[in-house]
Symmetry: C2
Subunit: 328 residues, 2 copies
């Protein structure tokens, strides 16, 4: 009996992204027991994604050699707006609208499920397990397909009066002159500094006939260009990729400076796929641009650093939300 | 005796600006009894400004027909960094550095004096007496010589971990392509949308021989161009001034959008000299640009409005600080 009640303290965190699903099992001390990955394949429709997410949970449980009954709760981070009942109101990357994901996944797994915004989940993870531990006031910048932000102010996550704050990717940093953003405007940070923005510029340059190792690294299939290929091209001293990634770092630094000037936090913490793959290359340039653009008074003692969680911020945050749901 | 103790509840608020000093007397119900104004004349040195501020207080008391002994405390808003003892660490517009203004003014007046940052004072006034009444989460944008910002989050003023937040004027909104800012960087909001930025553009156009009524409004002395002259030129349909002021409104809207995207407040509240003089012209354009640049999710129910305090935000905030000091 004792062993069983202890086993019920296991939780699963899911990071449901536009391209992949990550599921991880954590024990009662929040130690990672197993982690599994699946392609999201959002093009198959939302019901198929529910099934794939459930399968990913089963795979992770199998890898941890735990029975289904061991799980107290599942927490999922989703890139979109979530309502209080775990319905996804809108998730552009998944092409979902008003989809009761939490309810359906819970039914399929027969386990309580909580759904949270992925950036909120990541920020929670950074606060409790990453570079934000012990800090009262910090800003997270997650740089990947898009750019999302999380604010922790006076020790608590802050999303604004309407719960929709943190949209740092849509700060305009190059008004008039900047490229078009997915949101329809011009010159948003996301339009000049996200992985998508970088890839767009690389593809354009390739079409213009510029020389780059990306051509061979992606076997001529530009849809395969992701952070890892960019990192490899950077490592190989590819002039084109270096220039474009360095430009992006400069803009991220300007975005960080804007946040520092407005919020004067203790730290700006960077995460997301692009930072995971290229952080060591980008961070020095991000810092340089950031401190060049903060007014003297507010750059003092502001730390700009990596989250320290790599790809795990999402699953960790999901697991934290699950733990909260299960009141563990 | 009774009358005397009631009289001791009078406070004075001072708004010490780069060009003028405003002093106002408020009774125990925070009703305005009298207000006086003097040129700052910072070029005469900090000691002279102490004397001018004290004289302004005496003038205001005389106008209110109150004796010196009636004042419980004086609160001063200063455009700079202030330490806990009321010393001005740095005030660029006044060319002050480490000047014990509070101590010296208190000695000269023989009345307790508290010194606060002018933007913090203004934000306090907006929260208690202006458009921020009853709101828990809002952002103030004060547009004048420079651009300063105040944040009220979860019902309390927020200045960040180091107390230096709110520097919204140094958000970069036109990276690379923007004009040089007083801070040394390029493309800050202040460099494209403050009154100084507008005046700079107007003077440049005048030097280039462009037609404008400003030439006659300022009697050929460009150093006299202030918000009031700009407002008059706008009223007279001056093409040049309209274009430049409209551009500034557009950028202020983008700045407001950046703050909305990051903080999702209930309201963005505008104040300062430029807004006081040109608010009715600028506000519609500011709103249009702001809502065009907020992502759909966060513009809902965000109010963008005038502070409702006109030129009084500074003196009101100073008086509030005085009231706090005197524990009234």
């Amino acid at each position: 009996m004792k062993r069983r009640s202890s086993a019920k303290r296991v939780v699963v965190g899911i990071d449901l992204g536009g391209t992949k699903i990550l599921a991880a099992v954590y024990d009662e001390k929040h130690r990672l027991l197993a982690r599994e990955k699946k392609a999201t394949r959002a093009e198959l429709g939302p019901q198929a994604v529910v099934k794939r997410a459930a399968d990913c949970v089963y795979d992770a449980l199998a890898a941890a050699a735990l029975p289904h009954t061991a799980i107290a709760a599942v927490g999922v981070g989703v890139p979109g707006m979530i309502d209080a009942r775990g319905s996804v109101l809108v998730a552009p990357n998944l092409h979902w609208r008003n989809f009761p994901f939490g309810k359906l996944l819970s039914k399929r797994l027969d386990i309580p499920v909580t759904v949270v915004n992925d950036v909120q989940a990541g920020t929670m993870a950074v606060q409790h397990y990453g570079a934000g531990r012990g800090l009262q006031d910090f800003v997270c910048m997650f740089i990947g397909t898009g750019i999302g932000g999380g604010l922790v102010l006076r020790g608590e996550q802050y999303r604004g009066a309407g719960g929709m704050g943190g949209e740092i990717g849509h700060m305009v940093v190059v008004a008039y002159f900047g490229p078009k953003c997915g949101c329809g405007n011009y010159g948003c940070l996301e339009a000049v500094a996200s992985r998508s923005a970088i890839v767009r510029r690389v593809i354009k340059a390739m079409e213009d006939g510029q020389k780059t190792v990306v051509r061979s690294l992606c076997d001529g299939d530009t849809s395969r260009i992701r952070s890892r290929i960019l990192a490899e091209a950077y490592r190989q001293d590819d002039k084109l990729v270096r220039e474009i990634v360095n430009d992006a770092s400069h803009y991220i630094g300007i975005g960080a400076a804007n946040l520092i000037n407005v919020l004067n936090p203790q730290a700006v913490i960077l995460g997301g796929g692009l930072i995971e793959a290229l952080g060591n290359r980008m961070l020095p340039r991000i810092k340089k641009a950031a401190f060049a653009h903060t007014i003297a008074a507010s750059d003092e003692r502001v730390n700009i650093l990596d989250s320290g969680l790599g790809d795990d911020a999402g699953i960790l945050g999901g697991a934290l939300a699950a733990r909260k749901l299960a009141k563990l």
